[in-house]
């Protein structure tokens, strides 16, 4: 997911403030999935350098990185929340907002761009009234943008819920999404 470096400056500070209000956590946690995260943390011997690995595991389990999860990891590893938050927002791969039930990921790498990915993306944005990086009002679809999924020879590529559509056209993509809704 692409993010403008400016657009994620201010919210970091704001969200940190909100995060502080939640600092009671994790004593209140009752989520079983957290055990899986704790296991990973223990497997890495509570090493602070493997922070990214833990964030990956957490995102795999929860689908996105909820604030309370970040705080939990911060507490367990004894890393300041600001640092955990800073890392999570720096890397485009980590999602901090709950995604919709269907994920439509557009590759906007060079090969796909040259082959017209932008036109397909605009058409989808228009038809379903969702912008890139956002989730539709009904929570049904989220549009993500990534830079190269590594199948450039089949460009343009669109990934719809784990299914890759190669040599995509406006019609194939729109039809596929319509069939999901």
């Amino acid at each position: 997911m692409t993010k403008n470096i400016y657009s994620n400056r201010l919210p970091v500070v704001q969200q940190l403030r909100e995060a502080n209000e939640l600092s009671e956590y994790p004593k209140t946690v009752s989520d079983k999935r957290i055990i899986l995260i704790d296991k990973t943390i223990a497997a890495y011997g509570y090493r602070r350098d493997a922070l990214l690995e833990k964030l990956h595991v957490a995102q795999n389990i929860y689908g996105y990185l909820e604030k309370k999860i970040l705080l939990h990891i911060s507490e367990k590893l004894k890393i300041p929340p600001s640092q955990v938050y800073g890392v999570a927002t720096f890397y485009n791969y980590f999602k901090l907002k709950k995604p919709g039930s269907h994920a439509i990921t557009f590759c906007l790498g060079t090969a796909c761009y040259v082959k017209g990915a932008e036109e397909i993306l605009s058409a989808v944005e228009r038809e379903f009234n969702v912008k890139r990086g956002e989730t539709s009002a009904d929570g049904k679809i989220s549009i993500f943008v990534t830079r190269c999924v590594g199948a450039c020879a089949m460009a343009p590529n669109v990934i719809i819920d784990d299914e890759m559509i190669g040599k995509a056209t406006k019609e194939t993509v729109l039809d596929k999404i319509r069939s999901l809704l």
Partner: protein, 550 residues
């Protein structure tokens, strides 16, 4: 495990393979999997069983042969017959005809000989030959014998000597002499030392490193272990981008196998040398591939570059001497150790030895992954291997070196591919992306696309890059809607040079390349937007002229 045992495994494996008259190999790389490669593998296995050919015909997975545009592909040995666009329902017919009747099915045969004839597969030597998930397959084609040779017959100094003689230069982009880099790390006295294999491959439009990891993971591990022996490191990290799940799985498995065979770990091959490898995942940050940013990322921090000096060779991971090499660089190493540096130095050109993998994409007939000797011309790559632009369109430019590479016109196609020639032309080798664009693409839009990418990926640490790139983008935007002036072009150029000169890391230092090369070679197109209010490609939405006309 002892060194002699490697030879024994190789012999047994070879005999086992030869016991089958036919060997069917299904490409199971990321290029073919989305198009049904796994189902195809199963279909071939079923077909062989159904026809009762289990003793005659072996079915296995293999890595990418590079013809990703006709995925999924299947190879049949002996004869290395390449079948393209195969569907699961065709499997039985192919087995029946090819194996039982000994007849080749012409309708599926990949006929484009030119695609392979100009290539030289060194790094990708095993792609399409072995099953990447079996270490025994790698050993059977001579794998790990270079490690055995280094550990039993060579001192670390001799290893570095051979690599220096080979003339091998870093494939990660900058082309720094590998032997020299190893020497720096070896000379650093602080302990412990680290080796980092760079598999971040953040260039959008490049998949060479991924293909290597998926097709031949042990070549990376072996090269890395030899490097560690040469510089005296005991711990290594492979930093891989998280967008490559199959490569991650493949490498994970390969590391486990190498450990269980005692090829990494403690007392490797009975020597006193210990080396352990850990996999680290990136998380979608282009700048994390930069050699100091990668260190921050491995330490669990935001991937922001650090000023150099001190160089990682002196002060890298946790302040200790660290060797950072691209995985393609490392995969060359076993060959250099086995065949000698002098042998390697004869491939390519005198100043740029060896080969380079390129992802050839965009508007060409045969996109895919290729490996060519250094010094080959862009023309040969685009027209002979790539087959030129598809019918009815006109070649416009070739983008070499990724988002911070250059945009070269037809007149530059006779340029040989080597570090110096490309840099001189305003492009870079980068991580090996060659994207062809035709007359449908607008040059200004292309430049803006790359600036946009670098702007998104700028880590924000230094001002020229953080504040300069948005300004460049603003001007390009202005030109694209027809509001640019000739004065803007001057500012654009000045600003670009300023960003190049003043940025902290390679990202900012190369980001303006697309703007500078397009200004240099395609000024006419910029002027056409500015003076005539026309976009030659008909892509930009130019308002001004309409307003004037009214």
């Amino acid at each position: 495990m002892k060194p002699e045992e490697i030879q024994k495994i190789a012999e047994i494996e070879h005999d086992m393979r030869m016991a089958y008259k036919y060997r069917i190999k299904v490409c199971c790389s990321s290029g073919c999997i989305p198009f049904g490669a796994q189902k195809l593998l199963k279909a071939f296995e079923d077909a062989v069983k159904e026809l009762g050919l289990q003793n005659v015909c072996k079915v296995a997975r293999t890595g990418c042969v590079g013809t990703c545009s006709v995925a999924p592909v299947v190879l049949i040995d002996p004869g290395n017959h390449l079948y393209q666009n195969v569907k699961p329902e065709d499997a039985k017919r192919i087995v029946q005809e090819h194996v039982v009747n000994g007849r080749i099915l012409e309708e599926f045969v990949y006929k484009n000989e030119a695609y392979f004839s100009k290539q030289y597969r060194l790094v990708l030597r095993n792609a399409g030959k072995i099953d990447p998930l079996r270490i025994e397959d790698y050993i059977s084609v001579g794998g790990y014998s270079a490690l055995a040779k280094a550990l039993t017959q060579m001192t670390p100094e001799q290893v570095i000597y051979e690599v220096t003689v080979s003339g091998l230069r870093g494939r990660g982009g900058a082309g720094f002499p590998t032997g020299q880099k190893w020497n720096f790390v070896a000379k650093s006295t602080a302990k412990p030392k680290y080796v980092v294999a760079n598999l971040d491959e953040g260039d959008p439009g490049v998949f060479a490193n991924r293909t290597l990891a998926e097709a031949d993971p042990h070549a990376i591990i072996e090269g890395m272990t030899i490097a560690a022996y040469a510089v005296g490191a005991e711990k290594g990290y492979i930093y891989i981008r998280s967008e490559y799940p199959l490569a991650i799985q493949t490498l994970k498995k390969a590391i486990e196998q190498a450990k269980s065979y005692g090829l990494i770990g403690d007392n490797i091959l009975g020597s006193t040398f210990n080396f352990d490898i850990e996999l680290r995942l990136g998380a979608g940050a282009f700048v994390a591939g930069e050699e100091t940013a990668i260190l921050s990322s491995i330490e669990g921090l935001r991937a922001t570059p650090r000023p150099r000096p001190p160089y990682p060779a002196v002060s890298g991971l946790w302040g200790k001497p660290t060797l950072i090499n691209n995985v393609e660089t490392l995969a060359n190493v076993p060959l250099i150790i086995l065949n000698g540096g002098a042998w390697f130095s004869k491939i390519g050109t005198p100043k740029c030895t060896g080969t380079k993998c390129f992802s050839l994409t965009g508007k060409v007939r045969n996109p895919g992954l290729i490996e060519v000797p250094m010094g080959i011309t862009l023309k040969e790559v685009v027209y002979e291997i790539g087959g030129g632009v598809p019918e009815g369109r006109k070649f416009k430019a070739v983008l070499v070196g990724g988002p911070s590479g250059g945009c070269l016109p037809e007149s530059m196609l006779s340029l040989p591919i080597d570090y110096e020639s490309l840099t001189q032309a305003g492009a870079i080798m980068g991580s090996g992306g060659i994207v062809v664009i035709d007359d449908e693409s607008c040059i200004v839009d292309t430049a803006r696309f790359f600036i946009d990418f670098c702007m998104d990926e700028s880590c924000g640490k230094c001002v020229p890059c953080r504040a300069g790139l948005p300004k460049v983008r603003e001007i390009l935007d202005k030109i694209m809607v027809g509001e640019g002036t000739e004065e803007d072009l001057k500012v654009l150029e000045e600003l670009s040079y300023l960003i190049k000169d003043a940025s902290l890391c390679g990202l900012g230092q190369t980001a303006p390349n697309p703007v500078l090369t397009t200004l240099n070679y395609f000024k006419k197109e910029y002027l056409s937007h500015i003076l005539d209010g026309k976009c030659p490609a008909g892509k930009c939405n130019i308002k001004r002229m309409e307003v004037v006309k009214k």
